[in-house]
Symmetry: C2
Subunit: 138 residues, 2 copies
C-alpha cells in the first residue's frame, strides 16, 4: 500500500513535469509538439506496464510461500513437519526413518500425530490437506 501511494505520487509529479514540457513544445511549433505527445504517451505506456508487473509480482510471491503461522496454529512441531515433507516426497516410513536417523516406530508416532492434526485418514490425504492449507510448497 505504501508503494502504491509512492508510485501515484511519482505519477502526479511526472505529469506536472510533462505539462511544462508541453508548454515548451507549444512555443516551438507543431512537429516537436507531436513528438512531445508521442514521448508522453510512450512514457506512460511503459509506466503502466511497469506498475502492472510490480502488482502481479507481489501476487505471485504471496501464493507459493509456506504459511508458518498455520503450522503453529495446527500444533505441528518441527520434527513432525520434517516428516510431513518427507511423506510428500513419496517416501515410506522406513525410508523416512533412515533419512532422519531415527527408528521406524518414531516415524509412525509422528505420522499418527500428523494425521490427527491435519484431520486426515491416510498419508495421501494428509498431503492434499497440507497443500490446501499452504503448508507445503508444491
Amino acid at each position: 500500500m505504501k508503494k502504491t501511494i509512492f508510485v501515484f505520487s511519482a505519477l502526479i509529479i511526472a505529469l506536472l513535469f510533462l505539462f511544462k514540457l508541453g508548454k515548451y513544445a507549444y512555443f516551438s511549433g507543431d512537429i516537436s509538439m507531436e513528438i512531445g505527445i508521442a514521448v508522453i504517451a510512450l512514457v506512460f505506456f511503459f509506466i503502466g506496464i511497469y506498475i502492472n508487473k510490480k502488482a502481479l509480482q507481489k501476487k505471485k510471491s504471496e501464493s507459493p510461500a509456506v504459511d508458518v503461522k498455520k503450522i503453529e496454529q495446527l500444533g505441528i512441531s518441527k520434527r513432525e513437519y520434517e516428516v510431513l515433507v518427507e511423506i510428500s516426497k513419496g517416501l515410506s516410513n522406513k525410508e523416512i526413518a533412515h533419512t532422519l536417523f531415527v527408528s521406524e516406530s518414531t516415524i509412525k508416532t509422528h505420522v499418527s500425530n500428523l494425521l490427527v492434526k491435519l484431520d486426515a485418514k491416510r498419508r495421501t490425504q494428509a498431503i492434499q490437506r497440507a497443500i490446501d492449507l499452504q503448508i507445503l510448497s508444491v
Copy 2:
C-alpha cells in the same frame, strides 16, 4: 503473435488520432492542451496495463495445463488416469472403488499398473511423479 501485431497497429492509429486531438487543443489555449496531454497520458497508461495483463494471462494459462501427450507416452489408459486423480485426492482403494462403481480388486490392478508406468513404489511417490511430469493439475 497476430494479436501483438494487431495491438501495435491499433496503438499507432490511436497515436495518430491523438495527434489530431493535440492540434485542436493547440488552437484552444493552454489549459485544454494540458488536459489533452493528461488524457493521452492516462489512456496510454491503461493501455500499457491492459497489454501487460494480456501477455501474463497467456503465460499463466500455458503452465498449469495437464500434459495429455505425456499420459499417452507413458501408456496410461483413461481409466488408469481416473484412478490416479482419485489417488491424488487422498482416497483409499475402497473409496475409489465406490466413486468409480467397480470392485476394490479392479482398483488394485489399476494402481499396480500405474505404479509400474510411473516408476513408483508407493502411491505417494506416484503422486509426486505425476506432478513432476505435469500429468496432474496441482
